[in-house]
């Protein structure tokens, strides 16, 4: 479905320095039994957030009073593993609108874009600077400017650029989804089917 237009915003950050956070951690498989997309935010990082009795684990960053906001700052290779889109749904439903990391898994990247969640890839050095900044000053505000492809911490003179392909950028800004685009291509798709000889 089409989603809300992505607007630039400024927010505090939740840091999660662990590397290789896989989609089984973002949302464990046993919560994938729903047939509708709702309520996944409650299960986000479930087994890191709650103990076996359902009590919050105080040391986990999402439960840490110092951290909140619409930006998740994550260790390298975020979103690896399973293709479950529930991971993107859970992050969005919880309230995240952008994830900053030095590396994202491919399928997760597509799933994020298809749900209006912006994956922002920075260099490893930049990620280290941001991690330290947020650890030192948990109230740090990061501005996410999609139009100019920048993340900015004004008072620290931090301004990092990120890449995004022009099509995906326009989709996010205008709130378009790939489905609508593909539907507008149906005539071409049918032509392709007819013209197709199976020689490679």
């Amino acid at each position: 479905m089409s989603f809300k237009k992505f607007k630039e915003f400024t927010s505090t950050v939740v840091p999660l320095a662990t590397e290789n956070i896989d989609t089984d951690q973002i949302i464990p498989a046993r919560f994938l039994k729903a047939v509708e997309r709702k309520g996944f935010g409650e299960k986000l990082f479930h087994d890191w957030r709650y103990d076996e009795k359902g009590n919050k684990i105080a040391s986990f960053e999402l439960n840490d009073q110092r951290y909140s906001g619409k930006i998740l700052l994550a260790g390298k290779n975020f979103g690896c593993g399973s293709s479950r889109e529930h991971a993107a749904w859970a992050l969005y439903d919880y309230g995240f609108r952008a994830i900053i990391s030095s590396y994202f898994a491919d399928i997760f990247t597509n799933n994020a874009f298809n749900n209006g969640l912006l994956p922002i890839q920075v260099s490893e050095d930049e990620l280290a600077v941001l991690m330290k900044q947020v650890a030192d000053e948990p109230d740090s505000m990061i501005e996410v400017n999609l139009a100019h492809q920048k993340i900015i911490i004004t008072e620290k003179k931090i301004k990092y650029s990120f890449e995004i392909n022009a099509y995906k950028k326009e989709c996010l800004i205008k709130g378009y989804d790939d489905f609508s685009y593909l539907q507008s291509m149906l005539t071409d798709i049918e032509k392709y089917e007819q013209s197709r000889n199976t020689a490679f």
């Binding site: 590397e19 498989a29 479950r84 593909l182 490679f200």
Partner: protein, 462 residues
């Protein structure tokens, strides 16, 4: 097309349109669906007032949620039952062929696709499941997609994808004793890490790969996603054609002859260039096992866990596993053994396992789950007398499904317990909250199952 890779040839011939500054509109030949990642896609499609555009190109099975015992009875878990019933209703409403619990073709999606001849060389194949990479073993471009993309295939038979970069991994030479394709892929991931393939599509090449059976090639391609790659593929050859000949959905007659001519062209040109190349010697690969919480944390089973003190994530993984840097795994007690999944749930895997446990007894401390990947595999296990070998050694055969690979059904490893598993992921909690997974081949699993501890299978083979 003199300098194209196999991947280029298949991908480029499926591009309907290149979007300026953006992804390709990619046409999909074969779409597999299962109960977990399809319901929201059907719901959204119906919300748009649409039907599935090419229902004959989509095939459905139920695998993730289903119990591996008493499949003739109603599913006890109400949420699982609802998901399975929702799939039945959706397939009926949209005219999609479904292999349900009563159907002889039921099985794990990545086991039944190849075994029925539904996946063929040169195809683009997708499924809302990351291990769709398995199908690359037949020389197809196959990869996992999200639910939004499942909906796109339903509505338009296309998805929007940026073309991945190209990587070639070559393995040459004869394999050492007790080394399987599972060990090859665990070795590769331990070398290039669990993110080393991100952004790439891999072609596996070299004479070691060429000499692998079709099923061994599937186990290899299956785990290409575990190094982050979109998928992995192997050029089809005579073995591929022999494997496909006469299968239920394979072409036949004149059509077969025509297809063989087309498929023979599916290989990388001699001058093809890759964005990244790796080459390894088969002689350097020994039976592997993982010690951490991502598939890149693997080592020779006789080795010692490496030191990586500076890395907090590494330390966190060892803490979860209850291991220490520098220690050996050989001789450590194990609680569970799981043989099955889309990685190692095919007949050759059960033959390997049975060959090692034959004449030996299951160790008392081991709970074993032996789960065929499909009803067809189950039937073959019975036909070949493997089930008697298993039972004489104290193992029971269960019914097909994804089972303990991701523990969505009742096959869960209890917290703190160790499982030697032939599946594909050792992530925290993957086989149940708190479960500790050690990924390995069916031979390593068999050695652990009869000794009760982590054992080098080389010592138990003639």
């Amino acid at each position: 097309m003199e300098n194209n890779t196999l991947f280029d040839k298949i991908w480029d011939s499926h591009v309907v349109k290149k979007v300026a500054g953006g992804p390709n509109v990619l046409y999909i030949d074969r779409h597999y669906i299962h109960e977990v990642t399809s319901p929201v896609a059907f719901g959204n499609l119906e919300g748009r007032g649409l039907k599935v555009l090419r229902p004959e190109k989509t095939i459905a099975t139920m695998d993730h949620n289903i119990p591996t015992e008493n499949q003739h009875l109603p599913i006890q878990d109400l949420l699982s039952r609802n998901q399975v019933e929702t799939l039945e209703e959706n397939c009926k409403a949209h005219g999609i062929k479904l292999f349900d619990l009563n159907h002889d073709n039921l099985g794990i999606v990545h086991v039944i696709g190849p075994e029925l001849g539904l996946t063929q060389p040169g195809m683009t194949v997708v499924c809302g499941d990351s291990h769709t990479s398995t199908h690359g073993a037949l020389g197809s471009v196959a990869f996992g997609i999200g639910t939004s993309e499942v909906e796109m295939v339903f509505g338009t038979q296309c998805i929007m994808q940026s073309k991945p970069k190209k990587m070639r991994i070559s393995i040459n030479g004869n394999l050492n004793k007790a080394v399987t394709s599972k060990d090859i892929i665990l070795y590769i991931i331990s070398k290039i890490s669990s993110s080393g393939g991100t952004g790439y599509f891999i072609e596996f090449a070299g004479n070691t790969i060429r000499n692998l059976s079709m099923e061994a090639r599937m186990s290899l391609c299956n785990m290409s996603i575990e190094c982050g790659a979109r998928g992995g593929l192997i050029a089809p050859d005579q073995l591929t054609f022999e494997y496909l000949k006469g299968k239920d959905y394979s072409p036949s007659g004149e059509d077969w002859k025509k297809k063989i001519m087309e498929w023979t062209l599916l290989k990388s040109d001699p001058g093809a260039s890759f964005d990244m190349e790796y080459s390894y010697e088969a002689a350097d690969i020994f039976p592997m096992i993982t010690y951490g919480t991502n598939p890149g944390m693997g080592m020779d089973i006789t080795g010692r866990i490496p030191h990586n003190n500076a890395d907090e994530s590494f330390k966190k993984a060892l803490d979860y596993m209850g291991f220490e840097a520098g220690e050996k795994l050989i001789g450590k007690p194990v609680d569970f053994v799981f043989v099955g999944s889309c990685t190692n749930g095919r007949i050759e895997d059960f033959r390997m396992f049975a060959n090692l446990v034959k004449g030996r007894k299951k160790a008392d401390n081991i709970t074993a789950w032996i789960v065929p990947g499909s009803k067809s595999v189950e039937k073959e296990i019975r036909k070949e007398g493997i089930v008697e070998i298993l039972e004489n050694s104290g193992f029971a055969l269960r019914q097909p499904g994804c089972s303990a690979c991701l523990a969505m059904n009742d096959d869960k490893v209890p917290a703190g317990n160790y499982a030697v598993s032939t599946s594909n992921r050792n992530f925290e909690g993957r086989q149940g909250p708190g479960a500790r997974t050690l990924l390995a081949s069916p031979l390593v699993a068999a050695a652990a199952a009869v000794t009760g501890v982590i054992t080098n299978p080389v010592e138990l083979l003639e």
